[in-house]
């Protein structure tokens, strides 16, 4: 056919554009940081960096879970609400001791993930629909548990420590998140489970015919996403110093999805980029910080950010 022609054309075209698109998140990040260093007052202040990293920690975790789900050609819209649920559980069980309530909070996240995974793998519900329903249910449950009100957490103990502790300029939660990212990358690249997830995203039929445990893989993927959301909820709660169902995890879903996709994990599945996801998170956080520090009111900031995300996703789409 015109196969040969296409191949030649592709061969000459491919290296250039693919390289640019694959590194686009790094280029954008570097560019933005550069811009901020020049333009934004006070950007070099270590306090800014610290604050930025505190905000990034929970987002890194859920973005990782999201990239895994997206890698299987699925999606998890429930992560923000699961964060809120985890926070709520911590809030109401705080009396049982902080260690216990932390465990219960994370456990709540894991449970949501498992429910999601079962709905998707066993009942064959579309991940979009399943996670959307969980989004509503989990936040509702979080609201109900806390009576819609904020519950302040004690000033001492591990939770409060998590909310403020740093290793020089890097918060402990960010360190944990980065360690988690490292482990995540390892799982994705080197373990059978990680491979199965990528296979399932690349071609679910081929994976099935090749004898792979597709359904078990999906259940695991969404379970893990829920677990990560649970931990993210803990981090956000610790940072806030309170369990607040109206505030924790709100609108985190879009950020997580955007970070993953902009970072090079296409919505069509089959490829997961852990490093890209992390930079996607950092890019979004720096974007937020840029708006705040340049005194762009949060409302315009939100509009700009939404436009940016749509634009970036559109460009990824056009290539992927």
């Amino acid at each position: 056919m015109s196969d040969r022609l296409t191949a030649i054309a592709a061969g000459s075209r491919l290296p250039n554009t693919a390289w640019i698109r694959a590194s686009s998140v790094y280029i954008a990040f570097a560019g933005l940081v550069l811009l901020d260093l020049i333009v934004t007052p006070g950007f070099r202040n270590p306090a800014v960096i610290r604050s930025l990293l505190f905000e990034s920690a929970p987002l890194i975790l859920i973005a990782l879970g999201q990239s895994l789900a997206i890698g299987t050609r699925g999606i998890d819209l429930s992560v923000g609400s699961v964060m809120a649920l985890s926070s709520a559980v911590i809030g109401i069980t705080i009396g049982m001791g902080q260690g216990t309530s932390i465990a219960l909070g994370i456990g709540a996240g894991l449970s949501c993930g498992i429910v999601n995974g079962l709905l998707i793998a066993v009942l064959r519900i579309d991940p979009l629909i399943s996670s959307l329903s969980l989004l509503v249910a989990a936040r509702g449950l979080a609201q109900a548990l806390l009576g819609g009100a904020r519950v302040d957490l004690p000033f001492n103990g591990p939770i409060s420590w998590l909310g403020g502790a740093t290793v020089s300029v890097v918060p402990v939660t960010a360190v944990i998140a980065l360690v988690a990212a490292f482990l995540f990358a390892f799982v994705v690249k080197r373990t059978t489970l990680g491979h199965y997830a990528i296979f399932a995203g690349a071609s679910r039929t081929a994976a099935f015919l090749a004898g792979q445990p597709v359904r078990a893989t999906l259940a695991f993927v969404y379970g893990l996403s829920g677990l990560l959301a649970g931990v993210a909820g803990l981090f956000a709660t610790a940072r806030l110093g309170a369990a607040d169902p109206n505030y924790i995890g709100v609108q985190f879903e879009l950020d997580a999805i955007a970070a993953a996709v902009i970072g090079g994990t296409p919505l069509s599945g089959g490829r997961i980029s852990t490093v890209g996801t992390i930079f996607g998170v950092l890019l979004l956080e720096v974007l937020d910080a840029s708006f705040i520090m340049n005194n762009i009111s949060s409302t315009y900031a939100q509009m700009l950010k939404a436009a940016f995300i749509v634009g970036a996703l559109y460009m990824q789409r056009a290539g992927a």
């Binding site: 056919m1 296979f199 081929a206 015919l209």
Partner: protein
């Protein structure tokens, strides 16, 4: 003459899909269009319905040359096609579906439901279909749904109706209803192009038959003048030169041991696999032969567990496959290679290494961690053994040629250390050199004691490779023969003699 094509040709780049096709259709004529996969039938249909434009020749409607720049133009001119897949909306009512897109209006803004129902009922009655137009489409059997498609097409003013494999999913009484509709269409003066590979049907319904092969017309005659044998020969034909790998007239002594490598009894799946039974010895190559749509792929998939058979028993060696599932089959030593490499075989975007070791990850990993070294070792082994031309294990599978991709898939199956390998058209779409290598590989497998089940879109190929052939016709076993000393004509004879199986 209602519809005519003169020396119609279509090229896709350097590939000539259709060449010098001259074809004609009169009002009230049912003209059968036949041919195997890749013969050019669907290209011809796409040209007639405006999906593509011809690169040579012309189409004439009512004796006047005409060209369509879009499917809509073809529809407007009165040419419409009805396909196997019901391209309608199952949840909507029959009347809704018939009038979708051009509903009769009341007060110019609202749909005139009463008129819709009335006119739908009238059309349906005209074709002898007692269907309540208010029913949702999905409540009808597939056969009746197809009738609704036809009713829609006719109500839109189609004068030429092209039917693509209309009875492939029908059973029993539904087929008779379709025949009735075709008769009515004929009486009303429509021209019908009837695409099918069910010989008995074509002989019953069609006035003329045209056979395509490799994009050309090889036979075109009145039905009465064309014997079944000649028809089947025309469809399957003979290739020019046999591949350099001459047929090794190896009369291999296949001892019929008590325990066959694979035993299939009474396998049934929907209407596509009907009570199929056979057994396969170790070291034997068994070919499944038959026309397109005979059920070869479906049979293999049912055995493998990719489709869940409703009835039947499959045994690999002495172990019965209880829960039909690919992972189970692999575990028991049964491997399968799909004919659809692109969507059911390779993992696009992934590396050769990933593709090759996709079925054996648990065996090459410890504590859940995949051993990259073992993977690379496996790749090296099969690259050498099968002659896979690739830049390395890291290369993307999409960079490999079709033939080499197929070798990777064969390697994937072999990694699982199977006792039986089922290959569905393994040489489809690969070049001659790679084809020869695949043949060598298949023979080597049998030499090593594996049982091989094989199909091919070319009868010569399956005869050349197989020790024994099972001939399938419309899902049922029509005959069996040992290939030693036989000619493809013998297979054709079995096919020609086969009756449509009783339902």
């Amino acid at each position: 003459m209602l519809l005519e094509t003169r020396s119609l040709g279509k090229d896709f780049g350097a590939v000539a899909a259709l060449r010098d096709v001259t074809f004609s259709l009169s009002p009230g004529e049912v003209h059968g269009l036949m041919g195997e996969n890749g013969a050019g039938k669907s290209t011809l249909i796409k040209l007639l319905t405006g999906f593509h434009q011809p690169t040579a020749g012309e189409i004439l409607l009512d004796g006047k040359p005409i060209s369509f720049d879009s499917p809509r133009a073809a529809q407007a001119a009165g040419i419409a096609a009805v396909y196997q897949e019901i391209n309608l909306i199952p949840e909507r009512s029959v009347a809704d579906n018939i009038f979708l897109g051009r509903e009769p209006r009341k007060f110019s803004a609202f749909t005139d439901k009463a008129r819709m129902l009335r006119e739908s009922a009238a059309i349906l009655a005209r074709y002898g279909l007692s269907i309540d137009p208010r029913q949702p489409l999905r409540s009808l059997g597939l056969g009746l749904q197809q009738m609704v498609s036809i009713a829609r097409v006719v109500s839109l003013g189609a004068r030429v109706v092209i039917m693509d494999e209309p009875t492939s999913a029908l059973a029993g009484a539904e087929v008779d209803v379709l025949y009735g509709v075709v008769e009515q269409l004929r009486r009303e003066g429509h021209g019908i192009v009837y695409v099918s590979h069910r010989l008995s049907e074509c002989y019953r319904l069609c006035d003329r038959l045209t056979v395509l092969r490799d994009g050309r017309v090889v036979e075109s005659a009145a039905t009465g003048d064309l014997s079944r044998a000649r028809l089947v020969t025309a469809m399957l034909g003979r290739e020019g030169a046999a591949p350099a790998d001459a047929r090794e007239a190896v009369a291999r002594a296949i001892t019929r041991e008590a325990l066959p490598a694979l035993s299939v009894k009474g396998l049934s799946w929907r209407t596509r696999v009907r009570d199929v039974s056979f057994s396969l010895q170790q070291g034997e190559i068994l070919g499944l032969a038959g026309l397109l749509g005979a059920g070869r792929t479906e049979t293999m998939k049912a055995i493998y567990g990719a489709e869940v058979a409703e009835k039947g028993e499959v045994k690999v060696g002495d172990r019965r496959l209880r829960r039909p599932r690919p992972s189970e089959s692999i575990r028991r030593g049964l491997a399968f290679l799909s004919e659809d490499r692109r969507s059911e075989g390779i993992f696009p975007r992934l590396s050769v290494r990933s593709n090759l070791t996709a079925s054996v990850l648990p065996r090459i990993s410890r504590f859940g961690i995949v051993s990259r070294r073992s993977q690379n070792a496996l790749v090296a082994v099969y690259v050498r053994e099968l002659g896979i031309k690739t830049a390395g294990p890291n290369a993307l599978i999409s960079e490999l040629s079709g033939g080499n991709q197929q070798k990777v898939l064969i390697a994937r199956a072999l990694c699982t250390d199977p006792n039986v390998v089922m290959l569905d058209d393994p040489t489809r779409g690969i070049d001659v050199g790679a084809k020869a290598e695949v043949h060598r590989t298949i023979r080597a497998l049998a030499m090593n004691g594996l049982g091989v089940v094989l199909t091919s879109s070319e009868v010569e190929e399956v005869m050349e490779l197989s020790d024994r052939l099972i001939v399938l016709n419309e899902g049922a076993v029509a005959g069996e023969l040992a290939t030693a000393g036989r000619e493809p004509d013998d297979v054709l004879a079995i096919l020609a003699a086969a009756e449509a199986p009783a339902v």
